[in-house]
């Protein structure tokens, strides 16, 4: 404990706040989400409206949509994902740096929607761990904003420091066995998105 020093006068005069590292990290993460707009079909139009000035996603700090996955931490799957496109979507997801979250926007990406078909992925949770599902065809921009607020609440509950200290594998790149088969189990209460390989269950 020898490294702990009493707070000096300069600090007390300027003021300070006591908080937990987790809370500070989460506060930063949840208020600066950078969406990766995976606009695959009609839902993409609503996504654009959401980011635009009328609905103004900037109020939630998530308006900085980047078209490089390397700069993003929130993938918004807006549209119909086909099996032919699934490989590309998975590569984009893997290219995003951790921590990262996924919103399935619209019924198509949530469950395949009306495309009960051989060519359409019946829910992107077959290939990606989804955090928030948004119903609607297409969902109104306010519904997606609501999803972003829900995601912010979820990020608040994460424990990044604990995950890091416990050696939880934070690198969910292509090395992780994030191959999800069971839908709707991807909502993790842990601070990480490690989705288990088939056959293994969470403790």
């Amino acid at each position: 404990m020898g490294s702990l020093k009493p707070i000096d006068d300069a600090t007390t005069q300027q003021g300070f706040m006591a908080t937990r590292v987790d809370e500070l990290i989460n506060w930063g993460r949840k208020n600066s989400l950078w969406p990766m707009p995976l606009g695959l079909s009609c839902c993409g139009i609503e996504l654009m409206a959401m980011i635009g000035p009328k609905f103004d996603l900037a109020r939630f700090g998530a308006e900085a949509a980047r078209f490089s996955p390397r700069q993003c931490d929130l993938m918004i799957v807006a549209g119909t994902l086909t099996w032919k496109m699934a490989e590309a979507a998975r590569v984009i997801y893997d290219q995003m740096p951790d921590p990262k979250w996924v919103i399935a926007m619209g019924v198509c990406s949530s469950s395949g929607g009306m495309y009960d078909s051989y060519s359409v992925v019946q829910g992107v949770d077959m290939i990606l761990p989804v955090d928030v599902y948004v119903p609607g065809c297409p969902p109104r921009p306010d519904a997606v904003i609501d999803a972003i607020m829900k995601l912010q609440k979820k990020i608040e509950r994460e424990q990044p420091l604990k995950a890091r200290l416990s050696g939880d594998n934070l690198d969910h790149g292509i090395g992780s066995k994030t191959f999800v088969r069971a839908p709707n189990t991807a909502v993790s209460t842990r601070g990480s998105h490690a989705v288990l390989p088939p056959g293994e269950s969470r403790p």
């Binding site: 099996w83 032919k84 699934a86 078909s117 051989y118 992925v121 077959m126 292509i174 066995k177």
Partner: protein, 176 residues
């Protein structure tokens, strides 16, 4: 002279039989072996410069199972004409008309992709008859009537790709 008569007399040599069509477009049934000849007559004698589409209809379980349909347009005469030929088998063959009407190449690729009809002699910029909409390596022909609409193992190609990618990654990072 009506379109029907004009085309009928030109196609008489290959024994085309007129069929009833619902909206009045001249419609002829031909033998699959005469496809190229019929198309050449339509282009060179009757003045149909353009092919509108090549497609197929699956009459499963009737035999012969597939009805191929070609539609041609004459801008000069403001006419349309349709040809039909019945083919059967698991992998039906018919001659390509891609060299007579280059615009049919995509139609033929789509028809192959969806119905599995092989157009003999097909040459396109893609280098032969390849799938157009479904990914390379797909095993089925989705618009056939005996194909279930939810598909057969729709995730097969994705899973294979994912597994291969994962194993390659594991091998590359084996030392860490």
């Amino acid at each position: 002279m009506s379109t029907l008569e004009r085309v009928q007399s030109a196609l008489a040599a290959i024994g085309a039989k007129p069929l009833a069509s619902r909206e009045g477009t001249p419609f002829f049934s031909i033998e699959p072996a005469h496809v190229r000849e019929a198309c050449r007559i339509l282009r060179d004698v009757c003045g149909f410069e353009t092919n509108t589409f090549v497609t197929a209809i699956d009459h499963f379980p009737a035999e012969p199972r597939f009805e191929l349909v070609w539609q041609f347009l004459s801008v000069q005469h403001n006419d349309r004409v349709r040809l039909s030929a019945r083919v059967s088998g698991e992998q039906p063959h018919v001659d390509t008309i891609g060299d007579l009407f280059p615009g049919t190449q995509y139609s033929e690729r789509e028809c192959f992709d969806m119905f599995g009809i092989v157009f003999d002699g097909h040459q396109s910029h893609a280098g032969g008859l390849k799938r157009l909409l479904m990914p390379e390596g797909y095993d089925h022909f989705p618009l056939r009537k005996d194909f279930p609409h939810q598909g057969i193992e729709p995730d097969k190609l994705y899973n294979a790709w994912f597994k291969q990618r994962f194993e390659r990654h594991e091998a590359e990072h084996a030392d860490v």
